[in-house]
């Protein structure tokens, strides 16, 4: 994955641009979108609690990797709806999902030795799209590029809102 800051910046930029069209996306909801961008990386729990440890505990095969797929993310976000008061649940789910999906999409471009990315649409299909091998998480340039995108989105929305106020 690009580093987490890059993912968060990406989600911020997307939510900011969407706020032009969907006025309810206030800074609060952008923050939720950014939080959503952290969800797919939860699969890294395997670094602390390895798959093998869970397997021996459950007595069943197990892989955290499901969290880093479309199916896993959707279920995790619906589950996360419990943290909101009822009237915020729909919007909360929407922005969390936007952030999480933006994360998966950014991960599609990661460099891998086989040239294949990960099964993003699982469990619909286990197909692994080809990756253009654009970047990996250890490059500061990647963070900068996503930062520029986030700032551009911020600036554009600011300009548009200002000009609409002047009118």
């Amino acid at each position: 994955m690009p580093d987490i800051l890059a993912h968060v910046l990406f989600a911020y930029g997307i939510c900011t641009l969407l706020s032009l069209r969907y006025k309810w996306i206030s800074p609060q909801y952008k923050t939720m979108g950014m939080l959503g961008a952290l969800i797919p990386d939860l699969y890294k729990i395997y670094l602390l609690v390895p798959n093998a440890a869970v397997e021996s505990f459950l007595g069943l095969p197990f892989d955290w990797f499901a969290l880093r797929t479309a199916g896993g993310v959707v279920v995790a976000v619906v589950m996360a709806a419990i943290i909101f008061v009822p009237r915020e649940q729909r919007r909360g789910i929407a922005v969390l999902l936007i952030g999480a999906v933006s994360h998966l999409i950014a991960d599609l471009f990661l460099t891998t030795p086989t040239g294949q990315s990960f099964p993003i649409l699982w469990p619909l299909t286990s197909y692994r799209p080809l990756t253009p091998n654009l970047y990996h998480s250890t490059q500061p340039t990647v963070t900068v590029v996503f930062g520029v995108f986030a700032f551009a989105a911020f600036a554009i929305v600011k300009l548009v809102n200002r000009s609409s106020i002047v009118e």
Binding site: D3, I4, L5, A6, H7, V8, T16, S19, K23, W24, I25, S26, P27, Q28, T31, M34, L35, L38, E55, P61, F62, D63, W64, F65, A66, L67, G71, G72, V75, A76, V78, M79, A81, I82, I83, F84, V85, P86, E88, T111, T112, P113, T114, G115, Q116, F118, W122, P123, S126, H136, S137, T138, Q139, P140, T143, F154, N161, R162, S164, I165
Partner: protein
């Protein structure tokens, strides 16, 4: 109720993915296969991760729970630093040599960068979360904090519908 259903569903998915989905790439011999029994996989395409222990030629040490084995990487033109972490996709020519199709090297500094910058990312989100959302004890859940003083709060329609 939805929460429990989803929790169960997610657990189920993790079990199924554990049974059916080889994490990164399917159908290729991995570290544990090749390190335990390299002779079996000679001539096959393998995918391994290891640490660079020598650079001319490049030699990587691949460790599993069972033990460590060294492989020489043939046919790589990349400048690979000792200590770097390499993902190798290639053909096992003999029990000690991998003919590289593609190798991705990640340095220690790179890993530290990724960790550090990721922590900054998480902290940024948490700070925003505490400023922008508050826990409503009565309704038992999060609701947006009103009157957030961030310059970008100037999404005008949110506070005062202008087109009204």
């Amino acid at each position: 109720m939805i929460f429990l259903t989803c929790a169960g569903l997610l657990l189920g998915m993790m079990v199924i993915s554990g049974a059916t989905l080889e994490q990164a790439y399917p159908d290729l011999p991995h570290e544990s296969d090749v390190v335990d029994d390299p002779e079996t996989y000679v001539g096959e395409t393998v995918l391994l991760e290891g640490r660079v222990v020598d650079v001319d030629p490049v030699v990587i040490a691949v460790s599993t729970g069972e033990g460590t084995r060294r492989f020489t990487l043939a046919g790589t033109s990349q400048a690979i630093k000792p200590g770097a972490y390499v993902e190798v996709y290639g053909t096992l020519e003999d029990p000690d040599t991998i003919r590289v199709i593609e190798a991705v090297a990640i340095t220690d500094e790179g890993l530290w960068y990724a960790y550090l910058i990721s922590v900054i990312g998480v902290v940024w989100v948490l700070v925003r979360l505490f400023r922008h959302w508050r826990f409503d004890r009565q309704a038992w859940g999060l609701r947006p904090q009103t009157g957030v003083t961030e310059e970008e709060t100037a999404t005008p329609t949110q506070e005062e519908p202008r087109d009204a």
